[in-house]
């Protein structure tokens, strides 16, 4: 087992543990913090494979913007569960399904991930092929943000 696989195993275990923290914490604020940690660990997995641009996108947009708003929302509208209302019966079929899928993937996916990612080639290629798409998505996000602000202000 080489260093990359070992680091991937550690990152994966940390991601699953912090995601379990979301499920098990009763306070929403701590659940939001655990969720942010999980997303940062998932983004870090991208850097392990030398895909820094997606890491930056996830950290800036998903953790930096949406995650921070979620933490602020959870802190403002703090709600603490007395008891986590999960029927324990649901956990059993989920574990069985997860075990079957994990076994199948382990058997049939023995491949290494060899990333042929080169930012000097990929980014110009992406911009030449998908520039219109990127402009459209950024415009869409701006329209959604402006609409959300206008709607909240009108409702108040």
């Amino acid at each position: 087992m080489d260093t990359t696989t070992l680091a991937l195993l550690v990152l994966s275990a940390a991601s699953i543990l912090s995601a379990s923290g979301v499920l098990l914490s009763r306070d929403n604020l701590y659940a939001a913090l655990f969720m942010s940690i999980t997303l940062i660990l998932i983004a870090t997995t991208y850097t392990l494979f030398n895909i820094q641009s997606v890491f930056v996108l996830i950290i800036f947009i998903f953790v930096g913007a949406i995650g921070a708003v979620t933490v602020a929302l959870a802190a403002t509208l703090r709600y603490e569960l007395v008891k986590i209302p999960v029927e324990k019966v649901w956990v059993i079929p989920m574990i069985i399904v997860f075990a079957v899928i994990a076994f199948t993937l382990y058997i049939y996916s023995p491949h290494r991930i060899t990333i042929g990612y080169n930012p000097e080639i990929l980014l110009p290629s992406f911009l030449s092929n998908y520039l219109l798409l990127a402009v459209f998505l950024i415009s869409l996000s701006l329209v959604i943000m402006i609409s959300a602000v206008m709607y909240v202000r009108r409702e108040s």
């Binding site: 969720m35 709600y79 991930i113 950024i138």
Partner: protein
């Protein structure tokens, strides 16, 4: 083996997100569960980058996923703020209007 580790982690995070969603009694926890599910989707995209000719398409798929999921979550955050202003609570049990009647 690396592909299996990435995909198994993705499925585990997705299942935890599902469990959090079905156990949520307020909208903030539902939002957190959805963000976890989108996180698992980001993780599942990593093997797409391993095909050299497919790297630009994989990057485009990642960008689309990040922007659209952020848009969806932004709409949900707006809905939570408006619901809190109207009902003074974000507990889902208090929602008695909307939805389809069976």
């Amino acid at each position: 083996m690396e592909t299996a580790i990435v995909l198994i982690t993705s499925i585990a995070v997705l299942l935890i997100g599902f469990l959090t969603a079905i156990s949520s009694r307020d909208l903030v926890r539902l939002l957190i569960a959805l963000e976890l599910m989108f996180g698992s989707v980001f993780l599942a995209l990593i093997p797409l980058f391993s095909v050299p000719d497919f790297a630009a398409v994989a990057f485009a798929i990642a960008v689309i996923t990040i922007f659209t999921s952020s848009g969806e979550l932004l709409v949900l955050i707006t809905s939570i703020i408006i619901l809190d202003r109207k009902t003074k609570t974000v507990v889902t049990d208090t929602i008695t209007i909307g939805g389809d009647k069976v």
